[in-house]
């Protein structure tokens, strides 16, 4: 099938061989041609020597999720050759390094195999083992460029930007590109039937990963204290924050820093530091992943009960326990919503992509300070570590950020007496004071039983008074948090509901299903507790397919518990094998349910 700007290229290599930059170059060059792209990286949980894949979906119609097919497989890893060949869609192509012989027995009739002697060419043209390996990767970019008809000028420009000060590297890279490009043009019919063509689909967009976006968001939010313990896939969030801050928050003259990043000894300490800093009035945060959340849970409960703001980024990965650290999932929803023993519940935000990571990284601090409670931004590996094409981020300098109810020295001066946990405004949110501001503001923060006045108590009524007020605050949160996104028509009886990185696949699935005359309304939830509108959305439909990336229908569980909706209406569509969600899965599962007689 001949297509334009609708092709999926998957590259199989070995990690630690420098293929990442080659793959990035390939993706970027297509993006620079104005064509929307989706890039997904499937990498192992080790440092060097294991199979790794990169998948580029060229998607002229701008879909956001990974595809469910492979048109061109660049099979650079002998170890996974069989599996890679099997993965190619019928009618597709497989590119391999013909320097060495390959398993002919595995050949498929419906796949065209293209051999390019990449190693030989690079060995002949470059010196040194390391350079030869690197250049082999760049050479396959050249081959693919020829096969898809990617603009070589754009590649050149990209290389010039990357190696601004290193002209010789631009030259050697271009030489490798040329080797592949020319070989392909000489030996194969180029371009293939699936090819790319410059278009205007990317202006006003950038390509960025969610962790970088969140790190940038934290800087823009004015976060000053970041405490963390390294854990995949959240590590690059703090790396980004650090690199933006070292550029923009370091006095160029004195070298003095207006940010403080602490690599904690573990996650228990990281969250402790965040609480200490927030108690003192700094915007503080910690990025982590599942195991970190488990370790933080005692302190998260403390923050809920002592009412201390805290921003936590949970970049979710696959599985219980250590699981698959380099695969994606949305499986910490329940553990985050109810983290810690006792009656606790926590505000969650669900960004759908890097742009929302940037935005929610900022608003999370506002909510945390406004609500005086931990706010957990529920990202995942797919969003956090993959490159997404998203609209440009915006920042309005005139927006005054919400610092919540903090009493100033002047206000304290005028008060007769300050009581920490009084519901003065009826919204369940008390006033707080910061240490060092005014003598009248002092109080004793504690996770043990306390009264509305902030005094220690073991009295039943005084204790209950405070935990009951926290429920009032919860309802305030419900009104305060970002509203879900809806697409509703009057006629549809069924709806699709998802969160976060499920969005792309759901949007695409809706289009595909609509093409089959199955029309679904749509709701993308952005926060927990759920707004009234989410409940209404469910109430107004006969059936709602809840699409989420975990085994135990955790989002659906929260909907039952917090929105109090009818369980019979909520049909779980669960994807939890660690790969990012794709539209095909959603379409198939909806069709299955419809075939079983569910509403559509």
């Amino acid at each position: 099938m001949a297509t334009v700007n609708d092709v999926v290229v998957k590259i199989a290599t070995v990690n630690g061989t420098g293929s990442a930059s080659a793959n990035g170059l390939l993706m970027k060059s297509i993006f620079r041609m104005g064509i929307p792209v989706v890039g997904k990286n499937y990498f192992p949980s080790n440092i060097q020597g294991l199979p790794t894949w990169y998948e580029i979906r060229v998607t002229g119609d701008g879909y956001q999720s990974r595809s469910d097919r492979v048109d061109i497989m660049v099979a650079m890893n002998a170890q996974t050759y069989a599996r890679d060949l099997a993965d190619v869609s019928s009618g597709g192509w497989l590119l391999y390094d013909s320097t060495w012989p390959r398993h002919k027995q595995l050949d498929r009739d419906d796949v065209t195999v293209l051999g390019v002697p990449l190693s030989r060419m690079c060995n002949e043209n470059f010196d040194g083992a390391r350079a030869r390996i690197l250049m082999k990767n760049i050479a396959y970019v050249g081959v693919v460029a020829a096969l898809l008809d990617i603009d070589l000028d754009i590649i050149t420009t990209l290389l010039e930007e990357t190696f601004a000060d290193k002209k010789h590297l631009v030259d050697s890279n271009m030489k490798a590109i040329r080797l592949g490009y020319d070989y392909a043009r000489e030996n194969f019919v180029c371009p293939l039937a699936c090819k790319v063509e410059a278009m205007d689909g990317t202006s006003g967009h950038i390509v960025i990963d969610g962790n970088t976006a969140a790190g940038l968001g934290c800087m823009y939010a004015g976060a000053t204290v970041g405490a963390w313990y390294p854990i995949t896939p959240s590590t690059s969030l703090m790396d980004a924050f650090r690199s933006f801050c070292s550029r923009y928050r370091t006095d160029p003259k004195t070298g003095e820093r207006t940010y403080c990043i602490i690599q904690a000894e573990d996650e228990l300490a990281a969250i402790g530091m965040v609480l200490g800093a927030a108690w003192n009035g700094a915007r503080s945060f910690t990025p982590t992943s599942g195991p970190g959340i488990s370790l933080m849970s005692e302190f998260i409960g403390f923050a809920y009960y002592a009412e201390i703001p805290a921003v936590i980024f949970n970049v979710q990965r696959t599985g219980p326990s250590t699981g698959m650290p380099t695969r994606t999932q949305q499986s910490d929803i329940l553990s985050c919503a109810y983290a810690s023993h006792g009656d606790t519940r926590h505000v969650l935000l669900f960004p759908k992509d890097p742009k929302e990571c940037f935005e929610m990284a900022q608003s999370a601090f506002d909510y945390a300070e406004r609500l005086q409670t931990p706010v957990i931004v529920m990202s995942d590996l797919d969003i956090g570590m993959n490159d997404w094409m998203v609209p440009d981020f915006e920042f309005d300098e005139n927006v005054v950020r919400d610092r919540g109810k903090v009493l100033s020295a002047e206000q304290l001066e005028e008060m007769e007496k300050f009581y920490r946990y009084m519901d003065v405004d009826g919204d369940g949110i008390p006033y707080r004071t910061l240490p060092g501001v005014h003598p009248k503001g002092s109080y004793f923060t504690r996770g043990s039983g306390h009264t509305r006045h902030g005094a220690y108590t073991e009295d039943s009524a005084a204790y209950q008074d405070v935990v009951d007020r926290l429920l009032v605050k919860w309802e305030t949160a419900r009104q305060t948090l970002p509203e879900a996104e809806f697409e509703v028509s009057r006629f549809n009886k069924a709806g699709l509901l998802t969160i976060g990185s499920g969005d792309g696949a759901c949007v695409e699935a809706r289009d595909r299903l609509a093409a089959q005359k199955i029309n679904l309304d749509y709701c993308r939830v952005r926060a927990f507790p759920f707004s009234d509108a989410v409940k209404e959305f469910i109430d107004q439909h006969e059936v709602v397919y809840v699409v989420e990336q975990n085994r135990d229908a955790q989002l659906r569980s929260l909907l039952l518990l917090d929105a109090g909706v009818d369980p019979a209406k909520l049909v779980p569509l669960l994807h939890y094998n660690g790969m990012p969600l794709n539209a095909g899965f959603v379409v198939d599962r909806v069709l299955e349910e419809v075939a079983r007689g569910r509403a559509a």
Binding site: L216, E256, R257, A264, A277, W279, S442
Partner: protein
Amino acid sequence: MSYIGKPKVAHPKMPKNDLGLTARDYEGTVSTLCAGCGHDSVTAAIVQAVFELNIEPHMLAKMSGIGCSSKTPAYFVSGAHGFNSVHGRMPSVTTGANAANRSLMYIGVSGDGDSLSIGAGQFVHAIRRNLNMCYIIENNGVYGLTKGQFSASADIGSKPKKGEPNQQEPIDPVSTALSLGATYIARSFSGDKEQLVPLIQGALLHEGFSLVDVISPCVTFNDHEGSTKSYAHTRQFYHHVVDADFVPPAEEIKAAYAKGSAMPVELHDGSKIVLRKVDEQYDPTSRASAFKYLRERFNAGEITTGLLYMDESRQEMHDLMGNTRTPMCQLPLESLNPGAGELKKILNRYR
């Protein structure tokens, strides 16, 4: 835990400090600890120390974990903010608090259980960062609040009220801190206020991590015969090696030191600690020799006390990082981002 308010009537003739406050102004709510608990004496020493140092109450931050000892911040300086965190995690909270506001003075009160068992990791890492704080361990060899189990500081052979003597090697916070490079290390006894007060004062003013390990007997669970953390045992085997006097910036050192030589060490704010060597052999400036001495005395059954080690040369956490002197929490939010225009430029890197 305060069922009863404490009347705050100060006698008009009570001595006042430079801020015009009396010692009463540095008290807290009524203690709910057992009568005679060593921790209450440490509380009293802290009150005296901060009173004499002329610390504005609200510029002091009182940090703690969980335990009888960790309750005590409620019993001193009511005018200070306090943070009674979770068990064993005071160091991390203090680290974050200090990161956000370096202009406050931090006093952490912990127990041997809180610091040497559940909190051992955080204790170690606060030292490693040279966190600017005064860290007091009210060391009684037991878990008071959970009713008398041995803690990790219990000595081999120390007898419980009932049951068998402890057989496990004790963790000595002082040797551990020496091995980790803490920059101010002292040991004292709740029953020796004279020694304790200046040690706490020095610890408060030392820029960096200050450990004050205070033997503080638990009268209810660990003050019987055979207990090596009892009042009687401590008094008997107590051995001062280097005592310290604290001299405020303005004052000159004029006291005459009878025993041993006196060595003044200037602190960052211009005040001084005068080390008075009681034992001439002892060198409080060398980790290696301090460790050796301590072990030898330990083997001889002695409890070495005083200002055991001091190093004014190492930078504290913020300075190690090159952070601004303005407290992070006081930086105006608007000043912390490069604006919309710069954002555009940043985004261009991602095209």
